[in-house]
């Protein structure tokens, strides 16, 4: 049996414990331990993703207990794509967050919390069990609350509370949906639920779907359930906001898609849900971009931009659900393209913004005038990522928007995408102009003494930004990967088959 599906969860969990242990016994080696854990986890993730992409779906039964009694894990090409994103995420965030000498309690715990957060995200991605999914969602929530609620930041405790409250409702709704499905079908294993889903009474199915959409809608910031998000990201600070937005959010998108397509069989049983997602996507794009345009704080601006870009992903998803059948593969691939691109672009934006904010000790856009000349590497990475996220050809952001737009069957969503491009140009352009003004204030405040490694950080963000830009011209290779991933979601034959073999046991 190939153990990779379970290793991608267990290694970072063990790593988090180890980091805590090292931090208690030999605090000096904490950063090294964190980096080692991240490297080990990323390697495992890449290996699992490679197997998931190239071969048939990897199925794993924890404790050799096959569903319905045990918990099954599964890596198919669809989850492999998200594992790849997580691999980038964990390694990059460990590199960016190598700190020097911060001995506050939060800094001590955050390394372990980040490892646990990525463990939880990996768990969400590989699990094929509804209740197990719920547990990992909760674990991710708890870790993110810890990362958000830093003590040194005023108001972050409140933001943490607001996020906790949102997460509680979200968790309760997910639990309710899982409960309904369990009571109605007698199992929490996704393949078995999927088998029973078409025979469920329509109202039970509909209510479980509604609960799941709202539950994950809160997590990914669907308008009007997004109010907690900018506030939370602002309080969390840029490094954590990047992890939450670029990686955490994407995995919740993954969970939503997986649940809709697989256990709920929504494209067949309940296609109406995709019309709702289509409208929500358009509302998200317009609201997110308009709010970002009038926002005066860089972190909140980027947070609103995330809300908008969830909308693009949803447009692709909605198109896929409405087309149905094998043509849906292209639409899902488009949505995945945008997901991957947004991961690269947004992490690059947040992390390069971190350096700028760090230098000026303020995240208000007005206070960042002329800051570019003190951190040229960061502003270059920021501008490249901004070009990509606006959707300027030939960057990856343009290519992903192009394919999402190609997948639409109506003109209106396409027009919304175009409008979003123009609006986002306004706010990114404005920020660029302010950051590069030649008449900076006479003296910047002295930078915060706790400096992350600026060169390493700049190298990481430049790499991410360049990857986001280059993906556009390498779109053939990217697309073949994405189509393979999308097949994993749309054609579930290789997933359902092996899972059902052991049913009688």
């Amino acid at each position: 049996m190939n153990h990779l599906p379970v290793l991608v969860v267990v290694i970072p969990v063990a790593g988090a414990f180890l980091i805590s242990l090292v931090d208690t016994v030999r605090p000096a080696f904490k950063s090294t331990a964190a980096l080692l854990v991240a490297t080990a986890h990323s390697t495992t993730l890449v290996a699992a993703a490679y197997r998931g992409m190239t071969g048939p779906a990897l199925l794993y039964s924890v404790g050799e207990w096959i569903a319905p009694v045990g918990i099954s894990l599964m890596v198919d090409s669809f989850s492999a794509f998200f594992l790849l994103l997580l691999a980038i995420g964990h390694l990059a965030s460990a590199l960016v967050r190598i700190e020097s000498g911060d001995r506050s309690e939060w800094a001590r715990k955050s390394a372990a919390l980040i490892a646990l957060f990525f463990a939880a995200l990996s768990g969400i991605t590989v699990t094929a069990d509804l209740f197990n999914l719920f547990i990992f969602v909760e674990l991710a929530t708890v870790c993110s609350i810890g990362l958000i609620a830093r003590k040194r930041h005023p108001g972050s405790a409140v933001a943490g509370f607001v996020a906790l409250m949102a997460a509680t409702i979200s968790g309760a709704l997910l639990l309710f949906a899982v409960l309904v499905l369990y009571v109605a079908t007698g199992t929490v294993a996704m393949p078995l639920v999927a088998q029973a889903a078409p025979d469920l009474p329509a109202h039970l199915h509909g209510m479980a779907t509604a609960a799941i959409i709202v539950s994950f809608g809160i997590k990914i910031g669907l308008v009007p359930m997004h109010f907690w998000q900018p506030r939370t990201y602002h309080a969390a600070g840029t490094t954590v906001a990047a992890i939450l937005s670029a990686f955490g959010l994407k995995i919740h998108v993954y969970a939503l898609l997986r649940l809709l397509w697989f256990p709920l069989q929504a494209p067949v049983v309940l296609p109406g849900v995709y019309s709702i997602l289509l409208v929500m996507g358009m509302v998200n794009i317009l609201t997110g971009h308009s709010m970002a345009m009038i926002e005066r704080n860089l972190v909140r601006m980027l947070a609103f931009s995330s809300i908008a870009h969830v909308g693009y992903i949803l447009l692709g998803v909605a198109a896929a659900g409405r087309i149905g059948g094998s043509a849906a593969v292209y639409a899902v691939a488009a949505a995945l393209f945008h997901t991957g691109m947004h991961t690269l672009m947004k992490s690059a934006l947040f992390w390069s913004g971190h350096r700028l904010i760090h230098l000026s000790r303020s995240s208000r856009i007005m206070d960042l005038g002329g800051i570019a000349w003190r951190a040229p590497g960061s502003i270059i990475a920021f501008s490249l990522a901004a070009l990509a996220i606006i959707g300027i050809p030939p960057t990856g952001g343009f290519a992903s928007k192009w394919f999402v737009a190609m997948a639409q069957q109506a003109l209106l969503p396409v027009l919304v995408i175009g409008a979003g491009t123009v609006i986002s140009l306004v706010y990114y352009g404005r920020f660029f102009l302010i950051a590069t003004r030649r008449d900076p204030p006479d003296s910047f405040p002295a930078p915060h003494p706790l400096s992350l490694r600026p060169r390493l950080q700049t190298a990481v963000v430049l790499a991410l930004a360049v990857a986001a830009v280059m993906a556009g011209t390498r779109d053939v290779q990217v697309r073949s990967l994405l189509l393979r991933a999308a097949e994993g979601l749309v054609d579930q034959a290789d997933f359902v088959g092996p899972a059902l073999i052991g049913r009688g046991r």
Binding site: H3, F17, L18, W106, V142, G146, K151
Partner: protein
């Protein structure tokens, strides 16, 4: 609407009404779901666990068999959630400082010092007999944590810190956690799957005796340790923390 009292009352009334409505909806749906299942699914599929757990795991407590064997991965996740909660509490509250030296009265302390060793028997029993009788790692661990808290409350935080230093609590939590994850690997090295029990060659034993259920007692012990240490650390963090009442700045 003019008086704040009335406004608060109305708000609460609305909130209560909404909660009632929501829970009513949930209950109705769950009952519906149960009815559907009763109609469609044959009865022998009804309880997949009860019939087979003793034979397959050696644990006569079905709940423990599910928690520590069939769905041990969930338990690992839950234990990790507790670990994360401890870390979050530490991150938010900061270092435990300024332990209060308030103690209980002399009589209570005398009584407790005589009774405490006896008190320890109960959680240990709950943990070790998890696969035989109701109980298990979580329940026993919580009872253990209560004892640590009792020591702190009765004899003062300073004494508590001396007897069970926070560092020891933390280390035992990390150690138990690493052990928990590590035991899972035994299954992999034995050629079975992660967290495998009997399949990985752990002896099933005679059902109903203490030495049965394969790895289940060990998992119970580790979970118990972890939960006990984790919950005690949360208490230590909370106890050593002055209540803060800093309102959020209006922005």
């Amino acid at each position: 609407m003019e008086s704040p009292v009335i406004r608060v009352f109305l708000t609460r009334l609305t909130a209560g009404f909404l909660c009632l409505l929501l829970s009513l909806g949930f209950v109705v749906l769950l009952l519906d779901a149960g009815r559907h299942r009763a109609q469609t699914i044959p009865t022998q599929m009804e309880e997949p666990y009860t019939a087979r757990s003793v034979a397959e795991t050696g644990s006569i407590n079905v709940v423990t068999a599910i928690l520590m064997d069939y769905r041990a991965f969930d338990t690992l996740g839950e234990a990790t959630v507790i670990f994360a909660s401890v870390a979050v509490a530490a991150a938010i509250l900061g270092k435990p400082g300024s332990p209060s030296n308030r103690t209980m009265g002399l009589l209570s302390r005398r009584q407790l010092s005589a009774l405490l060793p006896l008190f320890f028997i109960f959680p240990l029993f709950v943990i070790f007999h998890g696969h035989l009788s109701p109980g298990g790692g979580f329940q026993g661990g919580v009872s253990l944590a209560v004892l640590v808290i009792l020591i702190h409350v009765a004899f003062g935080d300073r004494f508590g810190e001396e007897v069970i230093p926070h560092r020891i609590l933390a280390l035992s939590e990390y150690g138990a956690a690493i052990g928990l994850v590590g035991i899972g690997f035994v299954g992999i090295f034995q050629g079975s799957a992660y967290l495998a029990n009997v399949a990985a060659g752990f002896p099933r034993g005679t059902a109903g005796t203490l030495a049965s259920g394969g790895v289940i007692p060990l998992l119970n012990l580790l979970v118990g340790m972890k939960v006990a240490a984790g919950l005690s650390s949360i208490y230590v963090h909370l106890a050593g923390h002055e209540a803060e009442n800093v309102p959020e700045k209006r922005r």
